[in-house]
Amino acid sequence: MTVSKISVGERILRKYRHLIEESGEYLMSGNDAVARGAIEAGIKIATSYPGTPASDILGAIAAVARYHGIYAEWSVNEKVAFEVAYATALSGLRALVSTKHLGMNVLSDSLLVSAYTGVNGGLVLVTVDDIHPWSSQNAEDTRYYARLAKIPCLEPSSPSEAKEVVKYAFNLSEELKLPVIVRYTEKIATNKEIVKLGNIDFEARRREAKFYPDHERYVMIAPHTRKNHPILNKKLDRAMEIFEKSSLNTVLGPMYVDIGIIVTGVSYQHAMEAISLLNMTEKIRVLKIVTSNPPPQKLIADFLETVNKVLVLEEIEPILEKDVKEIAQSIKRSIDIYGRLTGYIPREYELTPDIIIKALKEILGEHEENKAIAPKDVIPRIPSLCAGCPHRISYLAIKTALRRLRKRGIVVGDRGCYNQGVHPPLRAIDTCVAMGASVGMACGFYKANIKEPIVAVIGDSTFFHAGISPLIDAVYNSANITVVVLDNEVTAMTGHQPNPSSGRTVLGEKSKKIYPEKVAEALGIEFIRVVDTSDFEYLVRTLIDAIEYNGVSVVVIRSPCILEVLRSGKKTSRYEILQDLCIKCYACVNITGCPAIVVDLEGKVTIDPYGCTGCGICAEFCPKNAIVKVD
């Protein structure tokens, strides 16, 4: 059995050839390579919830899922994604869950117990840690979760290695009967290199799902947990034994030199280039650790015997560095350990070859010559919501409503494109913390007795992900808040993935469209309005009514993401500025911040005909009515 009978379209073939072909070499990102690795491992199910920089793992698998006979889904949140994959693995099949680091927080509740039951089919949890961060609200290190959950964690150092590590992780998961984490950082997710395709494990994919009830193993009540705990600990001991001999961990460079480097993840590539730039290939010994939990103690101890100083490179917390310290003490080896704990490596942000070069020079007692830094006065490029984005109109309506009520208000934000509303000129949200936190925090501001209108704004995907429970809390505990659901019917921020509001699945199937207003209705909320952004004045008045309402009010603003509208090929209108009426007050720029409005060197204001999508919000704020619709 080799190829599927299902043919794929030209677009899929152009974009995902590396996931379809049986052999060859392709330019692939780390995320592509992980998707390929999971397909080669014979997965039957892949699940995820979108989150940059991990989203395209499931996006890629889903694009070729039919061809390979794999089931893929965007789950409603990471916890459900994990549970779907976990039950698949209990049934003897191989399953992949992928997430960004923040998703680990959401799924950890189930993950930490799943370690006690273990799995049957391979269960691999891929997490991409955005540790700089480039597009996240914190910079956490998933390796702590691996230790907390007592499950193995593997850290590949490149896209090619990531593909092999994923396959290895599935075998390891079945050998140990434990979920296995494959953890890497943003630089591997986005780095592309030439990766060689391998064979697909059709045997694993052909397995039939079977679940054999075993109450002591699968029903985690305390007596069963107590019984399973030593089994879990033994599995972890076994993992350590395997890792001590694993060929994934490698040693490079001459023995008995002054300086050694112990490194995990992408830092390995930075370190190797740094060593070569410093012409120190013959002077530094390097231990690359892929099996980071449990750390191979003997391997590290043996390495420490061959060097006098050791620089530990990892992203981003000094986890391995502390292990190395502990191991050095246990073997009574007095050795200088350099890393994030000693100030040789900065405590925050991702590593670069330059940081490693500087650290090595400092260890050698040399001074680093000053590198050219970017001219200090380079102005920032502040991002903005797209031209025609319905969120811009919603935010301006909320601001206008509060102004007419002569209140400042607190606008509690959430996670999604709409957190770009924090930038000038909108400055429309006051907080942004975690998925769904807008509603829970709105309750908190009310209970704390803040004497201002409290408005939570939350997107459709975020509402389904984690916004419903706090809305129940708001009703149950009688909060007086307004919840505005910015429903653009897609998970836009992370690349337009479908969600329960879209009415379709990632596999292109029609699904039941779920309406936030019906959820609100079922909770007994009495003030519910559903509006769109086409009539600004009506929108403002609706929001005023909602804010003035005493109790929980819900306003669903349902307008599609403008990028989706443009992609669908729908013709949009456009606006222009009548120059003889324009008084150059710049209200259109300074209030809306729309990127389609252009100010030339002489200060003349025009609307870019290719950028304008005809939302008309600028016209609402023109005091001279100089902005008119043209077609």
Binding site: E10, E25, E193, H270, S276, A372, I379, R381, Y610
Partner: protein, 198 residues
């Protein structure tokens, strides 16, 4: 090893341009490493791509400071922002395109003048090549091919270690059929412009 940096703004086609260069390098028998920092690309933010074309050894996904051989600046402000990656006497290809961010339109900040930007590059290198790729792309009726004009220009300057044939082959594998012809035209116009400059 050749290290190339592409700097610009979301929507200018930097990711496609990087993929084309990477694929062309693969076809020419090189190893490749490409790393894009997209961040908020879709929302008009800064986009940066590191491309490393090499035969053997180790390369980091991140180009060390002061060591890129070529900087292709798709937008002036972004070119200036990444100048610290360019090595001394490296090749600077500067597109005169200017995309004002909202902070410039709101007069929170002044956009640096072309002369000021050029002066910064002059301190580092004499190999500065200037092109209005947006205008040239408009000539083929597709301002979205600005990225391909820039690739043609860099190829015409012999700045890249890649063959013209491989780049065209790479374009065929990455660009949908219906847009291919216009992009090949854009590539050739970029090449022709390089001959005028050289």
């Amino acid at each position: 090893m050749i290290s190339i940096i592409l700097a610009g703004v979301g929507g200018q086609g930097i990711i496609l341009a990087s993929d084309i260069l990477g694929e062309a390098a693969r076809l020419d028998g090189y190893k490749v490493s490409i790393t894009e920092t997209k961040g908020l690309a879709q929302r008009g933010g800064s986009v940066l791509s590191f491309i490393r074309i090499y035969k053997n050894g180790f390369v980091s996904p991140i180009i060390p400071l002061n060591s890129a051989d070529i900087l292709i600046g798709f937008e002036l402000l972004e070119s200036l922002r990444r100048i610290n990656y360019l090595r001394k006497d490296g090749v600077a290809i500067l597109n005169t395109r200017r995309i004002d961010p909202i902070n410039v339109k709101m007069r929170m900040h002044n956009y640096p003048s072309f002369d000021a930007i050029r002066r910064e590059f002059n301190k580092l290198t004499d190999k500065i090549y200037i092109i209005n790729a947006y205008e040239i792309a408009a000539k083929v009726g597709s301002t979205r091919s600005e990225n391909i004009v820039l690739l043609g220009f860099a190829t015409g300057l012999s700045a890249l270690p890649l063959s013209q044939e491989s780049i065209i082959e790479a374009m065929k594998s990455r660009i949908p059929g219906r847009y291919l012809e216009v992009n090949i035209k854009a590539f050739q116009l970029g090449m022709n412009f390089a001959k005028k400059v050289k």
